[in-house]
């Protein structure tokens, strides 16, 4: 490996400080700027080859492949190795991380040149405790995000993202709203629509998103439609059962890969009905309505 140490002259350093940086160096040059279309994905499949857990025991699978549009659930206690699994994917591990796993992209060992390009290149992450902190309107923010990727955002693109977000939340937002004024549900909805339509990451992890405020099933469909590989870290039964496969993490390793059974599919259908009932109840409460008409709702258990 080469030494990255950079030694500018004082003049170069001063020029750099004045915003007049010399066009030198290639280290990590592709930071989020390489793509030219709105929803590119050169990643059609991702394969994980097994490593070992923290005690050195081999992982219990021979080869795990996710293809674009797949939804995969990830379960396990805190500290069971969820973060490391994602980091292995983000890092495109080649048996060179603490787990010894390897990651293949489209079936072959990937180009590793993007490893230090700033993160979030492979895996976009969304969790309940993420917030918008930028002092900008929704529209300004989406333009900034597009600009950071070197793409032009047309007014149609912008409307598509805003409408995408509005299909997920009960409280519609507009491009003129201030980001930091959005409710939790609106923020989450915009984050998902933005990730689906404007982020170049081929994989998205949804980490314990609460049901309140957004339609999570609709959110997953939006991401699937955008050809993302959707990883869902959750212990919520209704959400967990949307995935045909559940990766079980124990002690830093994948200890089991569970296929959804037909009985679980029936259960999932019932739970989805309950979710829909909850959503209807919430909408009725928000609208100031009486709820008595739901007392004998057939969706109630």
């Amino acid at each position: 490996m080469t030494t990255p140490t950079y030694t500018p002259t004082t003049e170069e350093a001063l020029a750099a400080l004045m915003g007049d940086a010399p066009a030198a160096g290639a280290g990590g040059a592709a930071a989020g700027r390489a793509d030219s279309t709105l929803t590119p994905s050169s990643v059609h499949s991702l394969t994980i080859l097994p490593g070992h857990d923290k005690r050195g025991a081999s992982e219990q699978f021979s080869r795990l492949t996710f293809t674009a549009g797949d939804v995969v659930c990830v379960v396990g206690a805190t500290g069971s190795g969820k973060s490391r699994l994602l980091a292995d994917i983000e890092w495109l591990a080649q048996a060179d991380t603490p787990t010894g796993r390897s990651v293949l992209v489209n079936g072959v060992a990937p180009d590793l040149s993007g490893r230090y390009s700033g993160g979030g290149r492979m895996v976009a992450q969304l969790s309940q405790n993420m917030n918008f902190v930028m002092d900008a309107t929704v529209g300004e923010f989406l333009h900034l995000h597009a600009e950071s990727r070197g793409v032009e955002l047309s007014s149609e693109d912008l409307s598509e993202i805003v409408e995408g977000a509005n299909r997920l939340t009960g409280e519609p937002l507009s491009e003129y709203r201030q980001l930091t004024e959005l409710s939790g549900g609106q923020s989450r909805a915009l984050m998902i629509a933005d990730t689906a339509l404007l982020s170049s990451s081929p994989i998205i992890l949804i980490d314990e998103i609460e049901n309140a405020g957004i339609d999570r099933h609709q959110a997953i469909r939006l991401l699937q439609g955008a050809e993302k590989i959707v990883l869902v870290a959750t212990h919520d039964p209704s959400l967990a059962l949307t995935a045909p496969r559940r990766l079980v993490l124990t002690n830093g390793g994948i200890s089991d890969v569970r296929q959804r059974t037909t009985a679980e599919e029936r259960l999932a259908a019932r739970l989805t009905q309950l979710d829909e009932l909850q959503a209807d109840l919430r909408a009725a409460i928000r609208g100031g309505e009486a709820l008595g008409r739901f007392a004998d709702d057939e969706r109630l258990p």
Binding site: M130, S148, S199
Partner: protein, 235 residues
């Protein structure tokens, strides 16, 4: 011994990043020590000592902290050699964003947090612009899009740097940083005769020497006058 200069604005997570990185280095059987530079007070040395990391602290007091750093780095490296650590981190806060402790041919790390705002990478100045590695912290609390925008702003400010997200709380990214430093930081026996990457402020004025009174009559030496003009008020 590998010397690594770590710099970043106050409260951006430097100590947390170094702590997690040293623990990852330890897992790779690479020993590390830390010298913490600060201005008025710090308890960070305690945080390092608590997990058994050899640590020293230096408080600059009434002296410019970056000048203090430059004046002490030679002895700091000698201390690291005595401790027989394989990696020595220096941690310093870039208090006014004007200075940078980075030294030519010494691995230079800048730490910056995403909560500091998207214009921060431009404002932080030479400690980020001349760094080899820029570590971005606190990414776990902002949206994916803001992380992407922030990374691209860091890249604009310093196109040569490797950009690496590290979570100072759970240590995500620290393994990758530790490995980068282990594999790519050059060895240093000494920094005697080395050069800073960026010059320190050219200032010796009456206030540098302890003057407290305001007014032209009390100003001697290197004084720059702000050019205040009458602005046109836009309707």
């Amino acid at each position: 011994m590998k010397l690594i200069t770590v710099a970043g604005p106050p409260a951006c997570g430097k100590t947390a990043v170094i702590l997690k990185t040293v623990l990852e280095l330890r897992r790779m059987d690479v020993s590390a020590g830390v010298v913490k530079f600060d201005c008025l007070s710090t308890d960070d040395d305690e945080r390092y000592a608590r997990v058994g990391i050899p640590v020293q602290k230096g408080l600059s007091g009434s002296i410019c902290p970056d000048h203090y750093f430059a004046g002490n780095i030679e002895e700091t490296v000698a201390w690291g050699q005595q401790q027989t650590v394989s990696v020595l981190f220096t941690e310093s806060a870039g208090l006014c964003n004007r200075c940078s402790p980075h030294i030519r041919d010494v691995m230079a790390v800048a730490v910056i947090d995403v909560l500091s705002g998207i214009n921060a990478p431009r404002k932080v100045g030479p400690m980020l612009r001349t760094a080899d590695v820029v570590v971005v912290t606190k990414g776990d609390v902002v949206s994916q899009a803001e992380r992407e925008v922030f990374s691209s702003r860091v890249h604009e400010a310093n196109p040569r740097a490797r950009i690496l997200p590290v979570n100072g709380l759970n240590g995500q990214g620290a393994f990758e940083l530790a490995r980068l430093l282990r594999d790519e930081a050059p060895e240093q026996a000494t920094v005697t005769g080395s050069r800073l990457r960026y010059p320190m402020p050219s200032a010796v004025c009456s206030y540098c020497l302890g003057e407290q009174r305001i007014g032209a009559a009390h100003q001697i030496g290197n004084v720059t006058t702000l050019n205040l003009t009458t602005p046109e008020i836009r309707a």
